[in-house]
């Protein structure tokens, strides 16, 4: 701050008064320039609508006449995926590795109906705006056949307007929000995994059957994910003797949930339902272990389940941890000799050696890629419309890395491919499924939109 004012700046200030007088010509100059610009624009505008590059959309002929065949030929099909490879949710980037491994496996076996799958992965860093940018790149520049997949509710919501407008199928999105299945206005977007509501119903059903007078304490993340699951649970236990006796929420930006847990512990509930993301799920488990006077059944929602979280658990101090599962856990010795898991391990080594085979995200990617290939096989017309038709009419399609008894099915009025889950107990470092498969659609009826859900939700059982 000690340096003298530069000569130019000083002059600038000193001149400020006479300059006002010179304003007239400057304004005129600007006006002339503006007029010239406008004239240039007007000259260009009549070209409107025409474009020197890019032809009209490719369409099919014959029995599938008029349908879009962009990105699909006799021997290739171009598929684009947007994953958070960087940023706070980069753990989900493993899904892309699982998908790549399965596509590699399929391509080596000759592809799908002779078509090799070309898989393009873009990174959105879990930012919705970047997802929109990347989806445009994939659709307009790379001209992919379909968007498979987008990860996370915000990115998926950001992309689906565009997908609907451009009529590009956005299939098997990796998020459990129930809106993908209930929003009728977005036929081009479809989910895959069991919705959070379905998961909540599985827990409710388990409690109704095994602890019919249970008192439940709920810890939930105060956002759409947390409320979706929490409200689903509250609806599913309506009319039974299972009661929620305490509730605490936290913000995803909070540093911890110790305070919330202390409040829940004072309720002395029989069950703790932890609707959390991994970091907070781990904290809740740690606090539960530390509070020796309160030993509830600890239900951990599947979003929070990851090897890193479970490694920290002191199983001696948290007697029983239960979660809902629908795919095979490669760490479980039960699947040691399972042929499907064996192929999975082997392919992963050759096509995505960097991925951890035990991570649920990797299995997820592999499994959802299988589901996608099954949908491709079921296309009657090799067109975007044909793919949409196929994913919207899945008829008990089996996938070998899903748990036995769980299949994919969709249809008119059913936009949820997987709605069955099993409960699993955490023991000896892996999740061991127990009981039978709970088909939430058969037991509770279809998931409705949030607005319809509250009054009619008790039609359970």
């Amino acid at each position: 701050m000690t340096g003298g004012m530069s000569y130019g700046a000083a002059r600038a200030v000193a001149r400020s008064t006479p300059r006002g007088a010179a304003r007239g010509p400057a304004v005129r100059g600007a006006a002339v320039r503006g007029a010239a610009m406008a004239a240039a624009l007007v000259l260009v505008l009549p070209l409107g609508g025409c474009r020197l590059t890019g032809g009209p959309e490719a369409v099919a002929t014959g029995s599938c006449a008029g349908q879009q065949v962009t990105g699909i030929t006799e021997d290739t099909v171009k598929v684009g995926g947007i994953y958070p490879l960087s940023g706070p949710a980069s753990a989900y980037g493993l899904i892309a590795s699982g998908v790549r491994a399965y596509f590699g496996h399929v391509n080596d076996g000759g592809g799908v109906d002779g078509r090799k799958i070309e898989f393009l992965v873009r990174d959105d860093g879990y930012q919705p705006a970047r997802a929109v940018e990347e989806v445009r790149r994939l659709v307009e520049l790379e001209e992919v056949f379909t968007i498979f997949q987008t990860v996370g509710t915000p990115s998926t919501a950001a992309v689906r307007d565009y997908a609907g407008r451009r009529r590009v199928p956005q299939v098997f999105v990796a998020t459990g929000a129930s809106r993908w299945g209930t929003d009728g206005g977005y036929p081009w977007t479809i989910g895959y995994q069991p919705s959070y509501v379905a998961e909540a119903r599985v827990y409710a059903q388990h409690l109704k059957e095994t602890m019919p007078w249970a008192t439940v304490a709920v810890l939930y993340q105060n956002d759409d994910f947390g409320r979706d699951l929490r409200d689903g649970f509250a609806d599913a236990i309506r009319g039974s003797e299972v009661r929620i006796v305490a509730e605490q929420s936290y913000e995803v930006t909070d540093p911890g949930v110790q305070g919330q847990l202390a409040n829940l512990a004072s309720s002395g509930a029989d069950v703790l339902l932890s609707v959390t993301t991994p970091k907070f799920g781990a904290q809740a488990l740690a606090v539960d272990a530390a509070v020796t006077s309160w030993n509830p059944l600890h239900i951990l929602n599947s979003v929070a389940v990851s090897p890193a979280v479970m490694e920290t658990v002191d199983t001696g101090k948290v007697p029983e941890i239960v979660s809902a599962v629908y795919q095979k856990d490669p760490a479980n010795p039960e699947w040691e000799d399972d042929p499907a898991v064996e192929v999975y391990r082997r392919s992963l080594l050759s096509y995505a050696p960097e991925a951890d085979p035990a991570a649920p995200q990797t299995v997820f990617g592999w499994t959802v890629a299988q589901a996608f290939v099954e949908a491709l096989r079921r296309m009657e017309c090799p067109t975007r419309e044909g793919l949409l038709e196929a994913v919207r009419n899945l008829d008990d399609v089996p996938v070998d890395t899903l748990l036995p008894g769980i299949t994919l099915s969709t249809g008119p009025g059913d936009g949820f491919p997987i709605e069955s889950m099993m409960l699993a107990r955490f023991e000896e470092g892996h999740w061991a499924p127990f009981g039978k498969v709970i088909d939430t659609r058969a037991v509770f009826g279809p998931v409705r939109t949030a607005s319809e859900d509250s009054p009619a939700g008790s039609s359970a059982g």
Partner: protein, 352 residues
Amino acid sequence: MRHGNDGREGTGVNAVAQTGHRRLAVGRMAGDRRRVWPWQRTTLAALAVAACAAPFVLEPYRVFQLTMVLVYGIALLGLNLVVGHGGRVSLGHGAFLAIGAYIAAIMTGRLGVPYPLALPVAALVTFGLGLALGRPALRLSGPYLAVVTFVTAAVVPPVIKRFGTVTGGSMGLSVPVPSPPSWTGLAEDQWLYLLVLAVAAVAFAAARNLLESRAGRALTAVRENPAAAEILGVRPGSHRALAFGWSAMYAGVAGTLYAWVVGFVSPDSFTVTLSIVLLAAVVIGGPGSLAGPLLGGVFVTFVPAAAQRAGDAIPGIVSGLLIIVVVCFAPTGLAGLLRMAAGGVARRLGRG
């Protein structure tokens, strides 16, 4: 190759140049003998024609990218007023971008107001907020100001999430994409591009006029030496606050355009990282110049996308390295490099 635009022929406008009205760009000293690009107007006109023709020549995705360059360019132009011309740091401009974007989303998406109305409303609201925040905040400087503005950027996303009934919470809001009037026969991306181009042209013209006005020179004087400026009768506080208000207004306008172009807003689009990226882009583009913000916009739009081809975590590394390289070797940013290169070419041609 003699040209009428170098101010020696004495036509109406050029005569003014000799009286010192058409002064050198702010920040370059009087008496500066370095060669400058002699065909500025011709270049500008060529660029304008190219900018108008671009949407009819390029693929839709490229048009979209150019639109994003302009949107970021407008935001950076505003930030540049504070950083480059005011000599103050702001880590909070992502917040104004968010406010502008949400005003557009709520007005057109929720209330069904015709979309052009969102632009002036967003401009006014962010100008007011910027002024209100700038008054107290800009009394601080250095790290203190950085922290205050940083907090602004950090606070806005949680606030948006808190008022979920209006803002859609963490799920975000879809924004209806402005559709072209049918008489133009334009495609959606072309219409958006031209819309943003028009706003950008006005924004740049306004910034240019602003910087050459009394207020602009007062701002420069305050940056160079506040004490001396004060002796000359310039009130540093009010000029800085006003600059902050304008700059917030630019960010708000950019936010509205952003909402139209992307068609979706969510709190996660406007994290603290965005504010930091904006500041970095100003530095890379060239603080204190008019071309800098556009070059910064090019950097933000193209470098991460291009670097992604090299590998998963590469974009972050490439951006970081580039920032270090630019700060070390070209402190005047890409705009400064461009000016030097142009000067060199002009010297070679023996002109200017």
